[in-house]
Structures are given as structure tokens and as C-alpha cells.
Assembly symmetry: C2
Homo-oligomer: 223 residues x 2
DNA sequence: AATACAATTTAGATTAGACTAAATTTATCG
DNA sequence: CGATAAATTTAGTCTAATCTAAATTGTATT
């Protein structure tokens, strides 16, 4: 009985959170895509959710959904579970960063708070998961990102890859082949609007555009 | 999509398996108790299950349920997950043997076969879980128990505790306090039908009857 | 063999979460 | 500013798993 929220409510909260990070509302259509549920079903669910849990979720017809502060915490709980699990599975069972997401996706809903604490402690309370994503703290605060999007860098700048966001397994494997994992040192070779050419420290030259990239690569502020 | 069985079907199979180990059928009432579901619901579910998965489950009105060979394998899969998870959680996250059951109960339904393999490999393919229960093999065979019920021992016999079955968390804590964990050396002090008195190696004298015992303690054949 | 009790099943209702099709609202753009 | 497209919601249906209450079947006992 650790949590009275059903699995799918946790999923709704998580995806509402992710869609509202930029400050906007989460539209039923956007949620529909992410959840693989038809828009009409999302409307229905979101209406019930807002009626049943007004402390978590705010909904207005045709305006989409937002989370309350408390709702955001509930979402961060799920995200913390997910990211700790990814880190844990990579560390203790040798999962690779492209395999680990799917497994964590299922486990995140069923682990106890005790499990969460034990994992965190066993890893020394890590700040980031294997993709470099920030892990919400135990008191459910999302730390501030202290790095910069790739597109903010100028040619010749040196940087270290910090985080690879929203990439699917195939892209992750590709990036790994190229050595573009979190921690990799890179130098910006050429740069124009969306044509990011960069060289990893080893000297290999890669076109990020050539990877048909959909996610974003974040890097440390260069020193 | 690893498995097309829903969670509750897995639970039905697992409990049918456990109830039919002695060769009998599993009655709807017995299942009802274990699953915390009303008998009428069990009948209903079991009828649907047998209709939908005749390769797994056999059902006859008023005669209860049995598993086919294939059904038994499906059940052993869940039991293997459970026992590997218990071993894994105890080993890597420091869970105690009385805490670990509940967590494994939830996780057993959502881990992948890959997860199962990785755990098994990481622990060197253990034969028993923390309670001493045998872990079904990777090809889903339940190994033969090579130890003996406590009640088969005679006074003065020495033995080593191998397995503590079906005990709840409270009893497990009590047994732990007394040093009666798997691996403990014991000597049978007195014995009469159900009044098992035994002495642990350390010298403490314990009445197993006094513990109001509900599970069974299995021990190695004494040498 | 008759009766009574327990176990099991049937029948019908309920709930949650999804779906489709149709209606409505909002946005866009000549 | 009105027409059309896109997004959203409404209304009604479906399925799975449960429930309760009532009916039935099986079992034991005298």
C-alpha cells in the first residue's frame, strides 16, 4: 500500500511533468502521443484525475493540464525511481545505457521507498543517471542543470559531454560507437545553425546532423 | 511485450502451482484465500483462464484446477523470478530475510528475462534463496529437495537448518533472534509428535512449539 | 436414504481504463 | 470576417477483473 496511485496515474503524472517543464500546459494531444493512448481517452482520464486528485492536477477544458506543486513532487518521485534504477542496473548488472531505459520503465512503478533509499545509499547518492540526466533529490527537488546545449557553443570551444537527452536506443548505440558518451571531451570544429560538426578528443570527426539526431546533447560550460 | 500474461494470471499460476505441489487439485476456495479474492471471482477467473489458455490450465467443475506441464513451467518462471530477486536484494541492497518477500512479490511480475539472467549470473547461479528455498533452474525445472522435515529427526540428532518455509515476517524475525537461520547447526533435544524442542549450537534452548510455528523448518540430513 | 452444512458455481452489477464516432471548440488564413 | 482545418471533448461501447446474493452441487451424518 506504499502508494495509493495506480500505475497509469503515475505515468500520467510523469508525462505531464515532462511536457510542462517549459512552463506551458500539457495538451491532451501531446499526452496522447507519449502515453500511446487515444486523445479522447486522455481527456477522459485527465478529467477524472483532476476530479479525484485536485491536489495534484489542474485541468481546464481546451487548456490542457498542469501539475500543482504537490503533483510535481509526485511526478519527481517516479522520475527519481526511474533514474536511480537506470544508474543501479548499469552499475550492478552491467546493463548498457541503451538497454536500461525499458527495464527501468517497468520497475519504476513497483519499487518501494525503501528500495529507492537503499539504491541511492548504495551508490553514494548519485547526482546523474547513465545518460547524464539529473536525479531528483530525496526530498523531491529537481537540481538545476549547470550545463549548456550544444547549440550554444562556438567553433574551437572545448567541452565535455554531460548529458544526452531523449535519445532512443538506436541513437544511443550510435553515439556510443562514436565515443560520444557523458564524460567525453569534445571540440567544436564547425558550427552553423543545425549543422553541428564536432570532434571527439580521440580525433574522430563526426557530423551530429548525420546521425539524424532527435534529442539534444548537453555539455558542460567549457572552462 | 516479453510476456503476454497479465500480472494477475501470473499470480493465479503461481498459487495454483503451490497448491498442487502435493499432487492434489487446487480448489477455488483455497485459491480464493491465497489471492485475497472472493471464491466466486476465482471460479470466474479460472474458467476464463482455462478457456483462454488450455495449454496451461485444466479445470473441471467442482474439481478445482491443475496445471499442465507447460503451465507448471510458466509458474516456475514466476517463482524463479521471486527467489532470484530475494537473493539479489539481500545480497546487493542489504535487505533482511524478513523484509525481502514483499518487495520481490511486486518485482517478480515486471522484470525481463534479461534481468533474470543477469541476476543469476551475477550471483553465480545460486541454488537457494535467502530462506533456503530451492530456485527453479533456468530451464524451469524445480530441483529435488535433498533435506528432511524437522519432524523426521530423533532426539540427539545433529542437523543444519537448510530452509525455512512459508514463514511470515514476524516469525522470521523471531527465528533470526534465536539464530535459527539457514546454515545454523542444531541438536534435537526432545521430540514428541508436534512438540519439537531443539538446541541451537550456541547452547540456547528453544521450543519450536513455543513459537507458535506455522511454517516448516527443513534441515539437512544429519551426517 | 434424508437432511443439513459446506463448497462451488451462476447471475447480474460495478468499476476502471481504454476505444470509436460524432460534436464542438479553437486557431488559421485568405 | 468567415471558412476550413486542427484540436479537443462528448457520448456511448467494450473488456477485464472484481463483487454480492442466490442457486446449486457435493459430502457427511445419523
Amino acid at each position: 500500500m506504499e502508494s495509493s496511485l495506480t500505475i497509469s496515474i503515475q505515468d500520467y503524472l510523469k508525462h505531464i511533468y515532462e511536457l510542462t517543464e517549459g512552463g506551458q500546459n500539457a495538451s491532451t494531444n501531446a499526452l496522447s502521443e507519449r502515453l500511446n493512448v487515444k486523445p479522447a481517452s486522455v481527456t477522459n482520464m485527465v478529467q477524472k484525475l483532476a476530479a479525484a486528485q485536485p491536489a495534484l492536477v489542474e485541468y481546464q477544458k481546451h487548456q490542457g493540464v498542469t501539475l500543482t506543486k504537490e503533483g510535481r513532487k509526485a511526478a519527481l518521485e517516479v522520475i527519481r525511481h526511474h533514474r536511480l534504477l537506470e544508474a543501479w542496473l548499469v552499475k550492478t548488472l552491467g546493463y548498457s545505457w541503451d538497454e536500461v531505459h525499458e527495464e527501468a520503465e517497468r520497475l519504476e512503478h513497483v519499487i518501494s521507498e525503501d528500495f529507492e533509499r537503499r539504491m541511492a545509499a548504495a551508490m553514494g547518492h548519485p547526482l546523474r543517471d547513465p545518460h547524464g540526466e539529473l536525479i531528483p533529490t530525496a526530498d523531491l527537488v529537481m537540481p538545476l542543470e549547470d550545463s549548456t546545449p550544444l547549440s550554444a557553443l562556438r567553433p574551437k570551444q572545448k567541452a565535455k559531454i554531460q548529458c544526452v537527452k531523449n535519445a532512443d536506443a538506436e541513437l544511443l548505440r550510435h553515439l556510443e560507437d562514436l565515443g560520444l558518451l557523458p564524460g567525453a571531451q569534445i571540440v567544436i570544429v564547425d558550427y552553423s545553425s543545425f549543422d553541428h560538426n564536432l570532434t571527439v578528443k580521440s580525433g574522430a570527426k563526426v557530423s551530429v546532423l548525420g546521425l539524424n539526431i532527435t534529442g539534444k546533447i548537453f555539455v558542460d560550460y567549457p572552462g
